[in-house]
Symmetry: C2
Subunit: 307 residues, 2 copies
């Protein structure tokens, strides 16, 4: 096999009470990528469609993660990468993570899978870091492993796969506004009240238990972020209206996807997730803010081979 | 049935990363209590053995929780309570919780179980509050439900039963020193670094997952308290030595039981838990601090009828 086409999915990180640790993987939203073995050594990005991203390997997220892996193997050939980018950079649903994951997953397949998914995450972290200016894996882990993942720690890298009920669907709306990463970081407090922190970890412990036991009511009860959302939601116009509309339409919970501006919600069943879509869309339709909206089941497989 | 004898177990609260929310139930340590229907209306404490505790119903933890329940039922009889107290008050293994739970559990049995365990916890909270000066359920919940419990919230009261592996044993050492509740509260910071809070909830989410999946290594990895232990451990002489001795002897983890001074550890298997006992005891044996030490499996039943 000299060439592989893969689908690298979008993901939601910072799932409410799971700020900085919990993420999940989307099914029908993601990038396509082609990875090809070539006689020419090194990593070469030969095509990027839809968005204006750098072709220089060292400046491209997919290129940097690919290089991290390339430097760890000893081969007498190289790789070409084609990126068919569908996830808009800066949308808050793991655009850079999809790129970072896709290249290393595809290369690993082409050379006989010497690396496990945790090792692939280690390479992908290097790519993700040039986009987000810090090493984190909360989008990478669900993109690679699928389903819900909890990144217990970065050093050493420990990723836990949390089971989730079959009938869980996500609705994600992306208002086409820009939030600078620096701004979304700057609004976070350095210190938080101990009582809020306790409430947050009670909710996260409860959410993990609820996912294990397929308890939809408890999932709903646990999807609360008392620490970060009060600050970051102020950067997203109409956040509270969208969240309330989603809940009113039957969503189990809603929150900021990643560092925004996308807003995610989780619902039991496709029918409810579709009603939630209409309710969320109705809010931004009344404004002059353009938006995209997706309804998707949770993707339990993660990044995968198309052909 | 006019009389019932029950065993009300000791418990460990504030289980490392589960500060204020997670607890577990001990098997061979606890109080015996006799609850008896009487013609005389009201709640009457007729016997207290081993410790000097108040006989006045309104001043006694078991009495106050019993009264809370008694005021919620309409009966033309009363109850007598005998307390055979084995858990030393102030030891940090849920002495007051055992009393608060025992009376309401026994009364509920005698009147045909009109209340579920969450409702019994609501009554017991009233008794616990006179001992600890605040309404909390982190010892009550494991005493009533058994096993590991997560108190998701107090208002409304939500208690989750977290499954745990069969071969999990606790070793608990009680150095006979007094820590004033006011002092153990005063050392806690009002605010904590966000980065520490994130580490704590990553650990708690991970611990809940590890308990669900019987992953002993992950239980061990997750039993870390980066928020409270650094402060409260300073109130317990030789805490770090005891903890290190427990870990060195093979314990999965160790930490402060409740607000101390007891120190708990968890181990896989009775043999390791017994080695841990010897290692922990060896530290205090070199000092002039008297101590008690217990090895017990996790009690998955909670408070129970003896006869």
């Amino acid at each position: 096999m000299n060439e592989i086409k893969i689908f690298s999915p979008a993901t939601v990180a910072n799932v409410a009470c799971g700020f900085d640790v919990l993420g999940f993987c989307l099914d029908s939203v993601g990038d396509d990528m082609v990875i090809r073995k070539t006689d020419k050594k090194g990593i070469h990005i030969t095509k990027i469609e839809n968005f204006d991203l750098p072709f220089e390997t060292e400046l491209n997220v997919a290129g940097v993660s690919a290089l991290a892996m390339y430097n760890a193997i000893d081969v007498d050939f190289g790789f070409e990468i084609e990126i068919y980018k569908n996830i808009k950079p800066g949308s808050g649903i793991g655009s850079s993570a999809a790129s970072a994951v896709g290249s290393v997953f595809g290369m690993n397949e082409l050379i006989g899978r010497p690396f496990n998914k945790t090792q692939l995450t280690e390479f992908a972290i290097k790519g993700e870091a040039i986009a987000s200016k810090c090493e984190h894996a909360d989008n990478l882990a669900p993109a690679l492993f699928g389903g819900f993942t909890l990144v217990k720690s970065i050093s050493p890298l420990q990723i836990l796969e949390i089971p989730s009920p079959n009938d869980l669907f996500a609705t994600i709306i992306h208002p086409q506004i820009e939030i600078k990463t620096s701004e979304s970081r700057a609004v976070l407090p350095k210190e938080v009240p101990l009582s809020d922190a306790i409430e947050q970890w009670a909710n996260l412990g409860s959410l993990v238990h609820a996912l294990h036991t397929s308890d939809y009511n408890l999932i709903s009860n646990s999807l609360n972020d008392v620490i970060v959302e009060p600050y970051r939601s102020q950067l997203i116009p109409h956040f509270n209206e969208v969240k309330q509309a989603a809940l009113h339409a039957g969503a189990l919970g809603a929150g900021i996807s990643g560092s925004g501006p996308s807003i995610f919600s989780l619902s039991k069943g496709l029918e409810t997730a579709t009603k939630v879509k209409e309710a969320m869309a109705a809010i931004y339709s009344k404004t002059d803010i353009a938006f995209e909206i997706h309804v998707t089941k949770i993707n339990n497989e993660g990044v995968k081979i198309i052909s």
